[in-house]
Symmetry: C2
Subunit: 161 residues, 2 copies
């Protein structure tokens, strides 16, 4: 049946697309490739060698990428005793986690805007009022995001029944 056929060429293109997309957003390209190779894998985990093979890149590139991804808790390293190879596994819902993590940017923006508003002379000045407005917007959005994400989790759980 067609719907159960893996289109390897299309998947490679997909991985590359996503890596480029994340790359535009400041995410290291190779790390993006690794994440989406794992996403696109039917196996639960892959070795560094498998990742290198599927991506056609050097072992060194994989090494750097998985180190980065481990640090930010996006992949887990599984050391199987009795095997020289480490296995790498995606942390559950890692793209969800990434999204959440990226949202800390909102707090950073809000904080910076607050500092700027004060430096501009407070809300009594044109610039101060403008920067305070920016701060309020990002603060407001940030405050409401957790509830939004909870709602997603709840709907997903309901669907799974």
């Amino acid at each position: 049946m067609e719907s159960h056929m893996r289109d390897e060429a299309a998947l490679r293109a997909f991985v590359e697309d996503m890596a480029r997309l994340l790359g535009d957003w400041g995410f290291p390209r190779m790390a993006g490739r690794v994440v989406f190779t794992l996403m696109a894998a039917d196996e639960r985990s892959l070795t560094a060698g498998e990742l290198a093979d599927r991506l056609g890149v050097s072992a060194a590139a994989i090494s750097g990428a998985v180190r980065y991804l481990s640090q930010i808790s996006m992949v887990a390293r599984e050391h199987v005793p009795g095997d020289r190879r480490d296995r790498y596994r995606l942390v559950d819902d890692s793209w969800y986690e990434v999204t959440v993590a990226k949202m800390t940017l909102l707090k950073t923006l809000a904080d910076a805007a607050d500092v700027g508003a004060a430096a501009a002379g407070g809300p009594g000045t044109t610039a101060g009022a403008r920067l305070a407005g920016m701060r309020d917007f990002y603060t407001w959005v940030q405050d409401r995001l957790p509830a939004l994400l909870d709602q997603w989790a709840a709907e997903k759980a309901a669907k799974a029944d």
Copy 2:
């Protein structure tokens, strides 16, 4: 009164911080500096020369930045007749607009995930199900963002009464 004093040094630091922050997210640094110099200005608009002076950068750098910012509709160029200098003004709520614009990324991500899910063999496969989950998440968030932003606009309008 202290609260009406501009702290120029702190504002320059603020501008640089924000530019670096946006830079990490794929936004051109100099364009970021220009945006936040305008945000931090009490004047409604600034000339290229004023921007260059305040930032301590070359006129060429300003030229490139405002061209970029005009293209993405973040600053408006105001050509005052009888004056050789162009004036640059922030489009209202431009940081809000930027945020909204960036959210188109969610659709791009969802679309790419959909393609990936199909290439992986559909929801019957491990990878296909995983990618479909990613697609569903981004689609869901994207669907709910407009309402969230409308709510902000409504609350802001209510406060302004």
